[in-house]
């Protein structure tokens, strides 16, 4: 089944990048063959109708994120592309094993850093690097956390390197990763928009995520009370991930609270209900460490709960994820994750990382400074695609400005070679045709201290601008449904 004669794909060419749907010869890969057959016979107008239907469904459900750039807070749709990203189960199994290994190692690292610090004493990671992490929390040192779990929920970003076809880890998100609601909603909209495609494919389900998360949260409760009160703490309606917070709370049947709904009295956390105060046992918090408790962290926080950390310290309430996790997803620590896996598990990493230069190492720094136009430079404590320099597409002045920034604070920057990301055919609504667009993949990992559970697939983010490598929603990215096909290898 090859490209040339197909209506919806007419004019599509497999470019210089790894195309997940088509081989270099322009033939559909075996796990995409049935979908290609289906879409190939579809008229562009039919496809366009379904696309509009899908968009409308997101709009009516109010699945939007808020953009503040225009000063008014405009609600925008997170663009959804109808062509699914498909991976065969065998390939997924390897990814799953690699992610589990990574999550367990990161959790052991956090236990160690906030506990005995053996890895620092053994000089496998420079102490100065750990202590200088922006999100290192000395308040967490020596504190025993429930069941020793730090990384309850992780989102680990993967990219497929076009030159080898191999999946690499691009970054870890172990603080408050978001996006899972899009995975679930994308699947729902997709089954409504293309029901016939699901009849012909055995796609592994994803909708057990909320139940699994709820189960893990329940195990953290300090009281054995079967009615343990679990809440989701949100910064509120103005947070860009607010939809996700309310979605998860609703799916798990737990209360969605803001800081002002909670109060700490006698080192116990309560929520304010119409019938008085009610004790809270577990908080799945989607508020950053900085804003959790004005008495402990930033004193100007209006989003947090004064005294929350005191109640946590006393063991009267559990928090997920654990404060201080940011030390494990610092972009400089990222370079040491293979070391962590060796150190704690005695294993080789299953998933490789992207080669990384640490600007505070003088040998790396000189390499970075002389190769800026070919590198991507990232600020270590940032996420969401902010604070980045994309060397190849940057203007000379921009590169020079970044050079100054790096020299002023080398610890704050790392650099990586540009990974030529794989592409998946995506609908270009302006040109009304299919075109290869770069994608990444963020699977969501849940850890209960024994086992890592990963819903098959994850969020495929797609850079909808031609040629763009930046997939973040804040920078014009969209998403796709991700299918893991049972039995496919």
């Amino acid at each position: 089944m090859c490209l040339s004669d197909r209506g919806l794909f007419s004019g599509y060419t497999a470019g210089p990048f790894y195309d997940e749907m088509f081989s270099a010869q322009g033939c559909a890969r075996s796990h995409y063959a049935r979908l290609f057959e289906k879409l190939g016979v579809m008229a562009p107008t039919q496809f366009e109708d379904r696309r509009k239907h899908a968009d409308l469904s997101f709009l009516l459900q109010g699945i939007t994120f808020t953009v503040y750039s225009d000063g008014r807070g405009t609600e925008r749709l997170f663009p959804f592309d109808l062509i699914p990203r498909i991976l065969p189960q065998a390939e997924w199994a390897r990814i799953e094993a690699g992610l589990s290994q990574r999550v367990v190692a990161l959790n052991l690292f956090l236990q160690d850093v906030y506990g005995k610090q053996l890895i620092l004493k053994d000089r496998k990671i420079p102490s100065s690097l750990v202590y200088s992490c922006r999100h290192f929390r000395r308040e967490m040192i020596g504190l025993e956390v429930p069941h020793g779990i730090y990384t309850h929920v992780c989102g680990i970003d993967l990219v497929r390197d076009s030159s080898t076809g191999e999946f690499l880890v691009l970054e870890d998100n172990v603080r408050t990763p978001s996006g899972i609601s899009y995975v679930l909603e994308n699947r729902l909209v997709m089954t409504r928009t293309f029901p016939e495609a699901f009849q012909e494919h055995e796609v592994l389900p994803v909708n057990h995520y909320p139940a699994e998360l709820s189960r893990i949260l329940r195990t953290l409760s300090p009281r054995t009370d079967p009615d343990a009160q679990i809440v989701l703490l949100t910064p509120g309606i103005h947070n860009s991930a607010y939809f996700e917070h309310s979605f998860l709370a609703q799916q798990m049947g737990i209360e969605l609270v803001e800081g002002r709904d909670l109060i700490v009295d006698g080192v116990v956390v309560y929520m304010k209900t119409i019938y008085g105060l009610k004790r809270v046992d577990v908080i799945y918090r989607r508020v950053d460490d900085d804003f959790l408790d004005p008495l402990c962290f930033r004193s100007d926080s209006m989003l947090g709960v004064p005294g929350l950390m005191g109640a946590y310290r006393a063991g009267n309430v559990a928090l997920a994820n654990t404060p201080g996790n940011g030390v494990a997803d610092d972009k400089a620590i990222y370079a040491y994750v293979p070391t962590l896996i060796h150190y704690y598990l005695g294993e080789d990493p299953i998933l490789r990382s992207v080669e990384t230069y640490l600007c505070d190492r003088s040998d790396h720094l000189s390499h970075v400074l002389s190769n800026l136009p070919s590198l991507v430079v990232k600020s270590v404590g940032e996420s969401g695609g902010y604070g980045m320099l994309m060397g190849p597409s940057a203007a000379h002045a921009e590169i020079e400005a970044f050079r100054e920034k790096i020299l002023a604070d080398p610890r704050n920057f790392i650099a990586q070679p540009i990974v030529p990301l794989s592409v998946v055919p995506s609908y270009d609504s302006a040109a009304r045709c299919m075109a290869g667009r770069h994608v990444d993949l963020r699977p969501y990992c849940l850890y209960d201290g024994q086992e890592v559970t990963i819903v098959p697939g994850g969020l495929t983010r797609v850079a909808l601008q031609a040629g763009s490598l930046v997939v973040n929603s804040s920078q014009g990215g969209g998403s796709k449904d991700t299918w893991i096909l049972r039995g496919e290898c």
Partner: protein, 318 residues
């Protein structure tokens, strides 16, 4: 139930109720005036502005109370906090903060109403007259009631919605009767002739026109209109009906038996309701309708404040 959620449900209902009431009054007034001989603007539109309680703001924003200005002001103007679009926007904001607690159907219904109304072009509508827009708002409010009734568990959240709806309606009906009665009687004493059409408009604006005729089988009479809108036990917009609703819901929230009260909000509501039950319209008119209605509006405000103090706010931990 979290206090904040109860608070949001209460206000969600009030904002939708306010949008509907404004749409009704706007629509009916506009079309009644179409059938009448021209009069100076002031006489025609002032009552409707004072009912909305926004006369001062209107004067700051517009030079004359012409029909299209009043419509624009009450329907669309973002600087008017009571404009229909502002009410619907605030109702949706409230729903958004509690979308995990209301049914998915309620949220999607309200969101689609918001999106639909947002597509109306103020200039085009002002030229076309309020019927199309107001009709959509009224229908949207009714549909939201229906969707809520059919999809939300009838627990304390449902009762907070009902209290919000009932309190908003009771207050708006009181304002409507007060303003119209004064306005139309003043017209009479000044030698004018407020014909039946204007009293009909009052009834129509609360959807009580047909019910009035079934009830009285008689020509429209100001005292009967007042009786219908204040004391009727069955019409869903009469003050007595709304206060009965408030009492039922407040008791359901606190699980209180009939004949007693668990908090100040219930005590005040019960007191108001007893007076409504045992009053006759001629007594009310003899004592003065205006002071009577002003008194009621004042008590509704107090009840709103007391509900907030009882259920929504925390002074801190004792």
């Amino acid at each position: 139930m979290l206090s904040r959620i109860a608070d949001s449900l209460f206000w969600l209902a009030r904002y939708i109720g306010r949008a509907e009431d404004t749409a009704r009054i706007l629509d009916v007034t506009f079309h009644t005036l179409l059938e009448q001989a021209p009069q100076p603007h002031g006489v025609r539109w002032e009552p409707i502005l004072s009912m909305a309680g926004e006369e001062t703001l209107f004067r700051q924003l517009y030079t004359e109370p012409a029909a299209h200005n009043v419509f624009e002001f009450l329907a669309f103007n973002p600087d008017n906090p009571s404009s229909i679009m502002q009410c619907i926007t605030k109702a949706r904001e409230n729903a958004r903060t509690i979308r995990d607690r209301i049914s998915r159907e309620m949220w999607e219904d309200l969101n689609s109403l918001y999106l639909t109304l947002g597509r109306f072009d103020p200039q085009e509508e002002t030229a076309a007259g309020p019927h199309r827009f107001c009709g959509r708002v009224i229908f949207g409010s009714h549909r939201f009631h229906g969707v809520s009734d059919a999809t939300l568990p009838h627990d304390e959240g449902w009762d907070f919605l009902r209290v919000g709806w009932a309190l908003e309606r009771a207050e708006m009906t009181a304002r409507l009767v007060d303003v119209q009665y004064r306005n139309l009687l003043a017209l009479t004493s000044a030698g004018g002739t407020p014909d039946n059409h204007q009293w009909m408009a009052v009834l129509k604006s609360v959807g009580a026109y047909e019910a009035y005729h079934r009830q009285y089988h008689a020509p429209i009479d100001p005292a009967r209109v007042a009786e219908m809108l204040i004391l009727n036990p069955q019409h869903p917009r009469s003050i007595r009906f709304c206060v009965t609703e408030m009492q039922t819901s407040l008791r359901a929230i606190s699980n209180t038996a009939p004949g007693s009260y668990a908090n100040e909000a219930e005590r005040l509501t019960g007191k108001v309701l007893e007076r409504l039950r045992y009053s006759r319209i001629d007594e009310i008119l003899d004592d003065g309708l205006h002071p009577y209605l002003t008194g009621l509006i004042h008590q509704f405000n107090t009840i709103g404040e007391v509900i907030a103090r009882t259920y929504f706010y925390y002074a801190g931990v004792a």
